[in-house]
C-alpha cells in the first residue's frame, strides 16, 4: 500500500501553486505573470478535487457499475467537483479579462514588461 491517491493529488496541486507563485513573483513579462496565475488556479482546482476523494470511491455517476443503493457508500464526494466547475469558469473569465488588458497595455506601451508601468507604483 503506497501513498494514498488524494495525497499525491494534493501535493501535486500545492506544487503547481508554488510554481505559479514563483512564476508570478520572478518574471517581469505580463504574459508570464498570467501563466503563473493560471498555474495557481489549476493547482487549487486539483487540491479542491483531492479533498473530495473518499477511499475506494468511484465517480458519482449512477450506472451499471454503481447502483443507486450503493451510491452513498462507494462514491466520491460530488460537492467539490461541482464547486470546481464553477471555479474553472471564473478562472477562465479572469484570465480572459487579464489577457485583454495585456493587449491594451501592449498597444499603449509597445512592451509587455511591467517595468514600463511605474506611474501607479508606490
Amino acid at each position: 500500500m503506497g501513498l494514498p491517491v488524494s495525497h499525491i493529488l494534493m501535493v501535486t496541486g500545492f506544487a503547481l501553486v508554488l510554481i505559479g507563485f514563483w512564476g508570478m513573483l520572478g518574471h517581469r513579462n505580463i504574459l508570464r505573470i498570467i501563466i503563473g496565475f493560471s498555474l495557481i488556479n489549476t493547482g487549487l482546482h486539483l487540491v479542491m478535487v483531492a479533498t473530495g476523494y473518499v477511499t475506494g470511491g468511484t465517480a458519482p455517476i449512477i450506472d451499471k457499475a454503481l447502483s443507486i443503493s450503493e451510491a452513498t457508500v462507494r462514491s466520491v464526494d460530488p460537492i467539490p467537483a461541482a464547486l470546481v466547475v464553477t471555479a474553472i469558469v471564473i478562472g477562465f473569465s479572469v484570465t480572459a479579462v487579464m489577457l485583454a488588458f495585456a493587449i491594451r497595455i501592449h498597444d499603449a506601451r509597445k512592451t509587455l514588461s511591467i517595468d514600463a508601468l511605474t506611474e501607479s507604483k508606490w
Partner: protein, 227 residues
C-alpha cells in the same frame, strides 16, 4: 537581488503552510451528510444519473445562472477592452496556416462539434454537461479560426443565439417557480425512465441551453481576441 530573496522567502512561507495542510490531511473514509443527501436525492428525486450535473443545474441552479452571467460580462468587457483598438487591421496580413492544420481541420472539425453536442446532451447520464460541452464546441471554433483566418464569425447571430438561450433559461426557471417547488426546479417536466436520454425532468433542456450559451459566449471571446 533583494527582490529575489524576498520572493523566495514568500514561496518558502507558502510551502511551509501547504506542507502543514497536506501533511495533516488524511484521506476521507466516509461521505459528509450533505454529500449523502445529494447522492440519494439526485437519482431518486430528480432522476438524473450524473450527480454532479444534478447539483449544478438544480440544487445550485441559481449559482449556475450567475456563472453564465459572469461569462456574458466577460464577453462584454473583452469587447469593450479590445473594440476599436488599433490592432484591428492586423488580420489581413495573417500568415497562412500550415498544410497540416488546414487539411486536418476539415476532417476533425465536424467530429469536434459532434462530440461537443454529445457531451452537452449526455450531461445528465454520464460525465459532461453544458459547460464542458460548450467549451468543446468553442475549442472547435478556435480550430476553425486557426485553420481559416479569413472566416468571420457572425457576431450578431452569436449574440442573438446566446441571448435567446439565456432568456429561455430564465423563463424555465420562472416556470419552476410556478409549476414546481422553486426557481429552476427541474420537476416541471416528467422524470422519465431513469438512464434514458429524455429523463431527469428539465435537466437535459437546461443543460442544452447552457451548452449553447457557453459555446456562443466563448466563441465571441475567441473572436474578439482575434481581431
Amino acid at each position: 537581488m533583494t527582490k529575489r530573496v524576498f520572493s523566495l522567502l514568500a514561496i518558502l512561507v507558502f510551502a511551509f503552510i501547504f506542507a502543514g495542510v497536506a501533511g495533516g490531511y488524511s484521506e476521507r473514509q466516509t461521505l459528509s451528510p450533505l454529500a449523502r443527501h445529494y447522492l440519494t436525492a439526485v437519482p431518486q428525486d430528480l432522476g438524473g444519473a450524473n450527480v454532479v450535473t444534478g447539483i449544478l443545474i438544480t440544487f445550485r441552479g441559481f449559482d449556475t445562472l450567475g456563472e453564465v452571467a459572469v461569462l456574458f460580462m466577460v464577453a462584454a468587457s473583452v469587447g469593450i477592452l479590445l473594440g476599436g483598438s488599433p490592432t484591428q487591421n492586423r488580420t489581413n496580413q495573417a500568415p497562412r496556416p500550415s498544410e497540416l492544420v488546414e487539411n486536418g481541420a476539415k476532417i476533425i472539425l465536424p467530429l469536434i462539434f459532434l462530440f461537443g453536442a454529445y457531451v452537452i446532451m449526455n450531461g445528465h447520464l454520464s460525465a459532461g454537461g453544458g459547460f464542458q460541452g460548450g467549451a468543446v464546441v468553442a475549442s472547435g471554433v478556435m480550430l476553425l479560426v486557426l485553420a481559416r483566418p479569413g472566416t468571420g464569425l457572425h457576431q450578431g447571430f452569436l449574440s442573438v443565439t446566446e441571448s435567446l438561450a439565456g432568456v429561455i433559461y430564465v423563463v424555465l426557471g420562472i416556470c419552476g417557480l410556478w409549476f414546481a417547488g422553486g426557481f429552476l426546479d427541474s420537476h416541471i417536466l416528467p422524470k422519465g425512465e431513469f438512464g434514458s436520454l429524455a429523463s431527469a425532468g428539465a435537466i437535459p433542456v437546461i443543460s442544452a441551453l447552457l451548452g449553447i450559451k457557453v459555446g456562443a459566449e466563448l466563441s465571441v471571446v475567441i473572436d474578439r481576441f482575434r481581431s
